[in-house]
């Protein structure tokens, strides 16, 4: 058990260090692959440059004006901002990221997109979401759950903060079969 906890902590620290070490946004190529021209026009260049997701959860989330949406692992905020545009000023968009510097970037990008009035970014972990029970209608995330060493705990937290009838819409990567051990054991593969 102690060894498992040490391993979980090692994964957590590796992922956080990897994200913190990204000096400049390198996500434009990723963003152009995942988002439409119209979606990219709705967000700032900074949010595009920090797009590091693996899909486009907002496109599938069927968000409605007035809803409260939580973006778990919001990074530079591109999905939070796209969600904020859809829930509109009657709603609320919350980005959650473990790194305060990412939250700060997200705040700036939200202001540039004109959604700062109903969008906030909170520093925190997906395994201990700093929100009350049953406080959001929809949870989105983009390539984030796979980064958790405690996925069941993160899902339990997402379940807790959702209102009854609430929904999740997550983009992520799945792997069938085994990766070569040289890849599976590489620390940068954990973060990626």
């Amino acid at each position: 058990m102690a060894r498992d906890l040490m391993f979980q902590q090692e994964i957590k620290e590796t992922v956080q260090q990897a994200y913190a070490a990204i000096a400049t946004g390198a996500g434009e190529t990723v963003a152009r692959r995942l988002y439409s021209d119209q979606e990219l026009a709705d967000v700032s260049p900074g949010a595009i440059a920090w797009a590091l997701g693996v899909g486009n959860p907002v496109r599938y989330a069927r968000l409605q004006p007035g809803q409260a949406v939580l973006d778990v692992g919001s990074g530079g905020g591109i999905d939070t901002i796209l969600a904020a545009k859809r829930v509109d000023s009657q709603g609320r968009a919350i980005g959650l990221d473990v790194l305060e510097e990412m939250c700060e970037r997200g705040r700036g990008h939200a202001a540039q997109a004109g959604v700062e009035g109903w969008t906030e970014f909170r520093q925190g972990e997906m395994e201990a979401i700093p929100l009350p029970d049953e406080s959001v209608d929809v949870v989105i995330s983009n390539g984030v759950l796979n980064l958790s060493a405690r996925k069941s705990r993160a899902l339990a937290e997402i379940f807790r903060v959702l209102r009854p009838g609430g929904r999740i819409c997550m983009a992520d990567l799945t792997v069938e079969g085994e990766l070569p051990p040289e890849v599976a054991n590489d620390q940068s593969a954990w973060a990626g």
Binding site: V30, L155, R167, T174, E176
Partner: protein, 69 residues
């Protein structure tokens, strides 16, 4: 994490109506776009993953589910 494992974790957390769709292959060339993958691990992937699988190392999916009302 395999797709069936992901779905199982959601169900064990209490979610219902689990849906997995939007499948898109994710290969080494896509991984190389992300700064989180070092050039070293990309090189290791190219050396250790069979060439015929290099364009589909993982699968991008959209997962939806609901908290029962």
């Amino acid at each position: 994490m395999a797709e069936r494992v992901f779905a199982g974790k959601l169900e064990r957390a209490g979610f219902a109506d689990v849906w997995v769709g939007g499948h898109r292959p994710f290969g080494i060339d896509q991984a190389a776009l992300y700064p989180l993958f070092t050039s070293e691990v990309i090189q290791v992937m190219r050396q250790t993953i069979p060439v015929e699988h290099q364009d589909h190392v993982a699968t991008g999916v959209i997962v939806k589910a609901a908290k029962p009302g």
